[in-house]
Symmetry: C2
Subunit: 304 residues, 2 copies
């Protein structure tokens, strides 16, 4: 009872982008994230997961980062209350350690026949590239109905979904999923279908955690390049970032920002894929990565 014994499991949010569609690797016909027991034959958490992913996808994982560790009856960061989906009453807890991984392509499925599905099948309210996503109005109406006269709920909804003068904040992926969960508007919490495709257990919450992390990270670390091919045009890079954050970017300002960070350099070649003027091809400069990352201090320190 007090031994602290638990069953350990690894869960991966594996992301890739094809064209302008961000994708996630799934199993069980798109209903679950890939996962497996953490066995003692693995050298480490990272190494165990890396081996497993590479055997499944046939591609190396460039970027792999721990997301969050959940325990039974404690799914989701700031939840004190039980959700009742814990299962049997054994004195064995299950501990799930989730990871975010980025892979460059998603061809060559391995033994497990993984499937790639678009993020926004599961979280359609997160894609604002073409204006308000489908199903937006009914969802907002239902959220407001749930909030009722409760000022706290009203504020949380307005903040998370960018209503009532608040700006849309693309990073709040997890907050939004949790609000929808709490409001009973997703299947996982007993809601009717409609608000995106459901997943087993809390896998959709873990997907939301991964997307939130990636959207936050892309602002101060050049993770986008982990998803890009060797050489690429400016527009391809822009489309990829837009796919991840679910928003359109200002073209020339995006170019300027990338330019002045000196993250990329011309290859010398051009593409003639498109109709108009051919675009220059660029490659990533990894040497600069370590040197410039995390430049944003935001605190008024005294210099000199």
């Amino acid at each position: 009872m007090t031994t602290g014994l638990a069953q350990a499991e690894l869960i991966a949010v594996l992301a890739a982008v094809t064209g302008d569609a961000p994708r996630v690797m799934t199993v069980a016909a798109g209903e679950a994230l890939p996962s497996g027991p953490f066995t003692s034959s693995h050298r480490s958490l990272q190494a165990g997961l890396r081996d497993w992913i590479e055997s499944q996808t046939g591609h190396p994982v460039g970027f792999l980062e721990q997301l969050y560790t959940f325990a039974d009856r404690d799914r989701g960061p700031d939840r004190g209350s039980d959700r009742g989906d814990a299962g049997a009453e054994a004195d064995l807890r299950r501990i799930s350690i989730s990871y975010l991984g980025l892979v460059r392509e998603q061809a060559a499925p391995g033994a497990g026949r993984p499937e790639w599905h678009g993020w926004y099948e599961y979280l359609p309210w997160e894609d604002h590239r073409a204006g308000l996503p489908p199903g937006w109005q009914p969802m907002v109406t239902a959220l407001n109905l749930w909030a009722g006269e409760d000022a706290g709920r009203q504020q949380r909804v307005a903040y998370a979904f960018g209503l009532q003068g608040q700006a849309w904040n693309e990073d709040l992926v997890l907050s939004r999923y949790e609000l929808l969960y709490e409001a009973g508007l997703v299947e996982e919490s007993g809601g009717l279908s409609g608000a995106g495709r459901a997943m087993q257990g809390d896998h959709r919450r873990i997907l939301a955690t991964g997307i939130a992390r990636l959207r936050a990270k892309i602002k101060y670390r050049p993770v986008a390049f982990e998803l890009m091919p060797e050489s690429f045009t400016f527009l391809q890079l822009q489309r990829l970032v837009e796919a991840l954050i679910g928003l359109r970017l200002h073209k020339s300002n995006f170019r300027r920002q990338i330019d002045q960070q000196e993250l990329i350099e011309e290859t010398g070649e051009t593409t003639a894929e498109s109709r108009g003027r051919p675009a220059m091809l660029f490659r990533y400069r990894p040497a600069v990565l370590e040197a410039r990352a995390l430049a944003g201090t935001r605190l008024p320190v005294t210099r000199g």
Copy 2:
């Protein structure tokens, strides 16, 4: 062998600030971070840890956030190699889930007689408030010696410690500890004493992880108030932030920044603690917290 059974343990980095000294709660005469098994009597990871901390410190924990989950033979985010400190060859892995918690004061020790020690006893190279910290020159010399002709090592050292024209980045706490570890300059990796006080196992690495998280977080979330008393002066707030990040701040620019975020409001009273003009007292405005946090987008989205 492949069951995924493991022993689960919770480890806490509990921080408080008294005056201008940031502190961490320790056990074992200041040689270890508080930890304990995660038992099935706990409702959840968060709740279990929260209960335990409050019984130990006698104070409620305002802020509690998961840091990182380690497994035996995998201590530290990006390490593939074993460190050989794993212990017995049982097929039971130990999994340590670490948390960062912030408490407002550190009086009233509970049953376990915890001790509070200054952060910078353990990581003296992190405190740059009074210029270069003691032991800086010998440490840099030893690092350069370790780097030798290896350009990669040289670059990592220069970047992490702000040498050769690079600016000091207070967030890179973990990178610095890991470099010192790798270079054999801390006791935990066989180095002689001198570079700060050691801790058991990898507790000092976990402390570094917690400080790094806090220093990064303070830039975009008002976590400082979790450590402040009810009412405070501007200078007290500044001193606290300075203690956390280990740097001096520009007085009026700091005031301006806090001002325009509308995070605090006057209480109407003043203090006459000091010699000169009495300072106005302020209180934190928690209502605004949710509404304004995470304003920094950093990506050039198209508006309208």
